[in-house]
């Protein structure tokens, strides 16, 4: 059934005599992807979708971890970085018309600035930090960022062109959007860059030292405050990348951040707070469970499945899959 026979109520687009480029793509797509799908094709599709969505969660989770490692703060405004990444990219790329290669870094830098401001204006001024005050401060900051975004962009969702077109690739009966590969690819790039940064560079090592023991780090001459600032900038940058890459798939609007923050937080906890491999594993697991849960069991309960798995894991491993119980004992929060 490559060309499905014309059926009643079929969209009229087929009848348009002159074939635009877009229509041409459509016809090509239809030629390759059949209207029916085998079970194995379905399962593979769930996996691909799950990994893509999971990659976004993983990026948010990595952002959480960078700040957590240096400060022990969970930055609930992390989701707003993703939202800002998407919307600022829309401004640079679609409104200003900058090419992708310029708009991308410009967006990342701008969001990093927001991250730096967040630290300077909301986190550092707090004199007697406790977990709850810090959580509230980041929640307050996220409310402010959301409000500001609503003013700048309004409440409508925005779209971004896909990086390399929208012609899906068909593999084993599953359909893969090129943008999916960009999302997964950027997660891999982030992983590589971060591991080089933390293992090979002086600054990276200094940041790791702050994470292990801030007092000792400052004794050996590391400027802890600068490291905290850097951690905010870095995690804002990762959030921006997540936002830029996911917007062509899911659109972006001002109030998307909160839900992404919750999912990312779940991923970070599932993998074990502070552990980068844990964050990636956690994100991918959350995304895959959601996707399979929606496809195989019940789409209404899909968010619940991921969270139930998270709870079960926590009850058996109170510090997440890859988190170390020893380390979590040292941490204050």
């Amino acid at each position: 059934m490559i060309f499905s026979p014309p059926e009643a109520g079929k969209p009229f687009t087929n009848k348009i005599p002159q074939v635009h480029l877009r229509e041409f793509h459509k016809i090509v797509t239809r030629f390759y992807s059949m209207e029916t799908i085998t079970l194995s094709g379905q399962l593979f599709q769930y996996l691909i979708t799950g990994i893509t969505v999971g990659s976004v969660y993983a990026m948010v989770a990595v952002g959480f971890n960078i700040i957590y490692n240096v400060t022990e703060i969970i930055n609930f405004a992390q989701g707003e970085f993703v939202m800002l990444g998407g919307l600022i990219m829309v401004f640079f790329h679609v409104v200003m018309g900058l090419p992708l290669i310029m708009a991308f870094p410009a967006t990342v830098i701008l969001v990093m600035l927001v991250g730096i401001l967040l630290d300077r204006l909301a986190i550092r001024p707090i004199r007697q930090p406790s977990v709850l005050t810090l959580i509230i401060a980041t929640i307050a900051a996220s409310i402010l960022l959301k409000g500001a975004a609503m003013f700048i962009w309004g409440k409508d969702p925005y779209d971004l062109p896909a990086f390399s077109g929208r012609n899906p690739i068909t593999v084993f009966g599953a359909v893969i959007q090129p943008q999916y590969l960009w999302v997964i690819g950027f997660l891999i790039v982030i992983v590589i860059v971060l591991s080089i940064f933390f293992d090979r560079t002086i600054i990276g090592k200094a940041m790791s030292a702050c994470a292990d023991n801030p007092n000792a780090a400052s004794l050996v001459g590391i400027n802890v405050k600068q490291m905290i600032l850097l951690s905010f900038a870095l995690s804002a940058a990762i959030g921006a990348v997540a936002g830029i890459t996911v917007t062509p798939i899911s659109l972006m609007e001002y109030d998307r951040g909160a839900m992404l923050a919750v999912k990312g937080f779940g991923a970070a906890i599932l993998g074990g707070l502070g552990s980068f491999p844990g964050a990636i594993l956690g994100g991918l697991i959350m995304g895959t469970i959601e996707s399979f849960g929606a496809g195989v069991i019940s789409s209404g309960y899909k968010d619940a499945f991921a969270l139930i798995v998270l709870l079960i894991v926590l009850f058996f491993r109170p510090s997440g899959i890859l988190g170390s119980i020893e380390i979590s004992k040292i941490k204050r929060f």
């Binding site: 709850l132 401060a137 919750v262 906890i269």
Partner: protein, 317 residues
């Protein structure tokens, strides 16, 4: 911190009793009594939470779930089975207590952010159930036909009557909570907050106390939920979502979580801010709300109840 004076309690009681009579005389704030009913309902939850978070140091971002369980138990039993509301409220509290034990026993072994996530997850799961089990809960559109409350033929059918009903409950809970704080249990809780190993060395059965307080706060939230359902005669899931749990957190942080007065001030203030005062800012409301929150956290990390102490500090200088 453990001493709660009799004079402030008396002043507070007088304020609550006089409130509807005073506002009734001023047309522009006549409806404040109505808002105070919700403030009272939220006070019930925040008092329990203050005991849990401030005095015991355990975070919960899932109390909207217990609030919802109370509301839905009341609603389903009265609207669908036609039972008398009062036993339904008790049943709701019992169900909440059982669920609190089941969830609390494994969760409260978790620390810090892990506990926050576990309670958050629990809250979201319960919210999804409210949405999905439409045959029972009416789904996202909500449930209508929940009866009002009456006692021995006396109907709590006006704003003023319901106001006093809610605040009587708040007072009862307040006295009970103060008694807990001032008793040996309160000292044990403080010990847990300061240092768990030390408390444990002193012979405090930590996990039992933690679960006890968790259950107590869940039962209060459930009672609040039932009172809400019978007042509005309607409930829908979005009232019990994640954002409400966060709002509760904000109430406690804003008022000051190391003090039971903070729970009351925070609940009252946030209720009036979000239902009345910020209305004048219209679209800017979100920004003003965020800014107030941020400024209070920065300048009064102990919440608004800490303000007198800070002012005293200035004078000493």
């Amino acid at each position: 911190m453990l001493r709660i004076g009799k004079i402030p309690i008396a002043v507070f009681a007088l304020f609550i009793i006089a409130f509807p009579w005073v506002t009734h005389e001023i047309p522009s704030i006549e409806h404040y009594t109505d808002i105070m009913i919700f403030a009272g309902i939220y006070c019930l939850i925040t008092m329990g939470l203050s005991l849990l978070m401030g005095y015991t140091g355990q975070i919960s971002i899932g109390h909207a779930a217990f609030y919802g369980i109370g509301a839905y138990t009341s609603a389903i039993l009265t609207a669908q089975y036609g039972l008398n509301p009062w036993p339904c409220i008790i049943v709701g509290m019992a169900i909440s207590a059982v669920i609190a034990v089941l969830v609390g026993a494994p969760s409260l072994k978790l620390k810090g952010h892990y506990l926050a996530m576990a309670t958050l997850a629990f809250g979201i799961i319960v919210y999804i159930i409210f949405n999905e089990e439409a045959a029972w809960t009416g789904g996202p559109d909500g449930m209508t036909g929940i009866p009002g409350l009456s006692l021995f033929g006396f109907e709590f059918d006006s704003v003023k009557k319901y106001y006093y009903l809610v605040w009587i409950f708040v007072f009862a809970a307040f006295i009970f909570t103060v008694n807990i704080i001032q008793s040996g249990i309160g000292r044990a809780l403080r010990a847990i907050h300061v240092s768990e190993p030390a408390a444990s060395a002193m012979g405090v059965d930590i996990s039992r106390f933690k679960i006890l307080v968790f259950v107590y706060s869940a039962v209060l939230a459930s009672l609040a939920g039932s009172l809400y359902a019978h007042y509005l005669n309607f409930i829908n899931p979005s009232t019990f979502d994640l954002f409400f749990s966060i709002k509760l957190l904000i109430m406690i942080a804003l008022g000051g979580m190391y003090n039971i007065w903070g729970a009351i001030i925070g609940a009252g203030l946030i209720t009036f801010l979000s239902y009345e005062w910020l209305y004048y800012f219209q679209e800017y409301e979100v920004i003003v709300y965020g800014a107030i929150l941020l400024l209070v956290t920065i300048f009064f990390p102990k919440g608004l109840v800490g303000v007198p102490g800070i002012v005293k500090g200035w004078f000493r200088e």
